[in-house]
């Protein structure tokens, strides 16, 4: 028999009461915020709703992959298109940034461990300088100080004669124009990639069973390259190239790169990509260095005493173990890079924050819906990353003894 006052000493009862109070506080807080919002919205004559997504948008977006994929036209495209364009452009710069930062970061991380003083200290200076200067400042530096000092729109710096050039309006590269049959080449390429992987696993299996080795990597590269080239020529070269056209004669206003030829990459994209890549690479370099240092020296020594050469030791002994340490923080750097791509709003690269939560929000004025939609994109991405990390951690745990 328990008196009511003894409930106080009951741990479970106390925690139950506390949790109920917590939920009540939460519900009350949500209700308070919600009712305030409704009152404020009513005072401003606004309503909630997603009807604006089907309205046509009235502003120009710089030509990028997003506008090209969505065939964006002022006056006929909707705000939903703007949203999708923002997402595409965000992930375009994030994906290319991740590729660049990974390559540069791994290079710098390994260079920091070099026995060669010149190489080691170069990487150290790189990491310390880039890590300790705010990303936004680096972005401004690339955009306002470097790319703005390029030749104006009537001039250019030629990179490859007739094929690539850069000026203040952007970087101009040849653009592939797929003709009839290009799809088959694409399919063939994918098939050859799969075949290369299949050869790799076959060679591994054979080596385990018979001890015979097979140069699977080079075979795979050869199959992908020559196979695709063969199909390409058999199909009658179904990809045309559109080269950028630069005029430096004729009427002054017609000089410069001609619109509609080649592929133009806007300077905002270059600045964001450069800044994200260089900044994140500094962090990745530190992660890689720490990961390799975390592997006990005995592993290297044991491998050497078995007569395995340094390069092979690195590839077969050190890196597989280091990756287990490297990949979790590396994933969170990828996540950071994706989130940091939102800084592009400062130089008006047309990504999600800039065009949807910036320009479109100013036109439509649906703060809650639009900022909510923007957050959902980032949240989804970070939850997916977290899910991957959990999966990966579970996987490497099994490998552990």
């Amino acid at each position: 028999m328990s008196r009511p006052s003894s409930l106080i000493y009951d741990r479970q009862a106390r925690s139950l009461v506390f949790q109920v109070l917590l939920i009540l506080a939460l519900v009350f807080g949500a209700w308070w915020l919600g009712s305030n919002t409704l009152v404020n919205l009513a005072a401003q004559g606004k309503t909630l709703g997603f009807g604006f997504l089907t309205q046509t948008s009235g502003f120009q977006i710089n030509a990028t992959l997003g506008t090209w994929l969505m065939e964006y036209n002022v006056g006929s495209s909707t705000y939903l298109d703007v949203y999708v364009i923002g997402i595409i452009n965000t992930f375009l710069v994030a994906a290319l940034g991740i590729i660049g930062a990974t390559i540069l970061g791994f290079t710098m991380g390994i260079m920091r461990l070099s026995k060669n003083f010149v190489i080691r200290s170069f990487a150290t200076v790189y990491v310390e300088v880039l890590r300790n200067i705010p990303l936004l400042l680096q972005l401004f530096f690339w955009y306002f100080a470097v790319l703005r000092s390029l030749p104006n729109r009537r001039g250019q710096i030629e990179i490859f004669e007739g094929a690539a050039g850069i000026n203040i309006t952007g970087l101009y590269l040849p653009a592939p124009l797929p003709q009839d049959g290009a799809g088959i080449v694409g399919v063939a390429f994918i098939v050859f990639v799969i075949a290369a992987f299949w050869i790799g696993s076959w060679a591994k299996k054979r080596q385990y069973e018979t001890g015979q080795r097979f140069p699977a990597f080079w075979a795979g590269v050869a199959i992908i390259f020559f196979g695709t080239a063969l199909v390409y020529f058999v199909m009658g070269q179904p990809i045309d190239w559109s080269f950028p056209v630069f005029k430096d004669t004729g009427p002054l206003l017609r000089r410069g790169f001609q619109i509609g030829n080649g592929m133009a990459i806007i300077p905002e994209f270059i600045a964001v990509w450069l800044a994200l890549t260089l900044y994140t690479a500094a962090f990745i370099a530190e992660i890689v260095r720490a990961g390799i240092l975390a592997i006990a020296k005995g592993q290297t020594e044991a491998s050497y005493s078995l007569g395995i050469r340094p390069g092979t030791t690195l590839r077969l002994v050190i890196i597989p173990q280091a990756l287990r340490v490297i990949i979790p923080p590396l994933t969170s750097q990828y996540l950071n890079l994706t989130k940091n791509s939102s800084l592009a709003v400062a130089i008006a690269y047309p990504e999600l924050v800039s065009i949807f939560a910036g320009t479109a929000l100013n036109q439509v004025g649906k703060e809650i819906e639009m900022i909510g939609m923007m957050m959902i994109v980032y949240l989804t991405f970070s939850l997916l990353t977290a899910a991957f990390m959990n999966w990966f951690n579970a996987r490497v745990k099994l490998v552990e003894r």
Binding site: S5, I8, Y9, S15, F18, Q19, L22, I23, L26, L33, N36, T37, V39, N40, L41, A43, S114, K115, N116, F117, V118, I119, F122, V125, E128, V129, R131, N132, I133, P134, L135, L136, L137, F140, F141, F144, A145, R148, S149, K339, N340, S342, L343, V345, A346, V353, A357, L361, E367, I368, I371, M374, M375, Y378, L379, F381, S382, L383, A386
Partner: protein, 465 residues
Amino acid sequence: MANARDKNYEFVRREDAPILPPPATEAGITGWLWQNIFVSMADYTSIGAGIRSLLMAILSVLILYFGGTQIYALIDFTIFSAVFSDPEGIKREACWTVDQGGVLPSGWHGACWPFVVAKQKFLLYGAYPAEDLWRVNLTGLVGLVGMVWVMIEKLPYRREVGAAMLTLYPLMAFILLTGGNSDAEFSNIGIWLVIGLAIISAGRLGKRGFLGPTFAEFATLIGFTGWVFLIFNAVRGVAAVDFGLEPIDTRDWGGLLITLVVAITGIVASLPLGIILALGRRSEMPVARLLSTIFIEFWRGIPLITVLFMASVMLPLFMPEGVNFDNLLRALIGVMLFSAAYMAEVIRGGLQAIDKGQYEGAQAMGLSYWQTMRLVILPQALTHVIPGIVNTFIGLFKDTTLVSIVGIFDLLGAAQSTIADPSWSSHVQALSVYVYVALLFFVFCFGMSRYSIYMENKLSKSRSH
């Protein structure tokens, strides 16, 4: 048996061999150079090793060239080619080349320091009134002295100074920077103070058992509530006192001042919230755990810039009519919630590192949950994560630059707006001020990261025995 030496054989050495100097490859400057640079490019015993050595040599030369030119370019830009003074007061023309109408040689490229000097006050304080700058300087000086005092281990009263830095200093900084004299009614504050005192005394009475057993159980909680009331209103009261300082609107603040205010307030305010969230995430109560986890993952999942957008656009919608925050306060709230989530994860790392025996030991001593945390777990966990906290602070310090996107002139925002000044316009205007700001940020962040590494080494040493 006779020794070989005694027999006087001609081929037996009688003196010690002379001590030779170590090989040139092992000691001294040449040894260092050999081992750190040339050994990696001197192996030509096989074709593969030869190719590797050659590649290493080429790479070293390329990097030396590239790194050298970059460093020289920076030194040349900031020192050798830079314009240091503008004695005639001709502003932008002091940094113009002959082609642009100035006096510098064609193709000149160097820093325009007179421009940065002229904008110095704006970059450091924004539009803060010039005659009141002593207030900012005093705040900064006291903060610096206090911080250094806490960081140097040999000084006495470090604990007391630290406590003052966390309690009295923010109040002082607030009054000095804003001017205090808020328009709260003293009678109103007085009533709340009396209520606070009443609650505390009720708690005291309850503790002695005068008000029944049920009440006694909650005495601590009641006393705590009373103290919160008391302190909160005491702070309000002090802030409402007229010290004769000119009130200065936060719209006039700017530059480094804003950067430091946002970063330091963000980190200090996020500590208590971060501790609560970290404890919540490790709590045994499912609701508390779930809510903390959702909160943390939500803020960590979105970029800071969207948080600032939300704070500046949505926060006014969430508040009841008539409540209006100024721009800086909105950004501060956003930064605080954002960094609390990161802080919570750092602290959770510290909590997880505490041995289970510590919890069990505390329980065996009969300590309650809060006593365990306050007296046993948190002191250890927080010391563990000092490097992590410093790293979070560095990150936040750099991220503070984002407030310039929502229209607050922090150091970078101020720099960006000086570039728009046509009276100093030249082709090196942007670069000069960027280099200056980058240098400031680098000095702050690099210094702090060194301190964090130093702490890490010290802590790992003290942990290992």
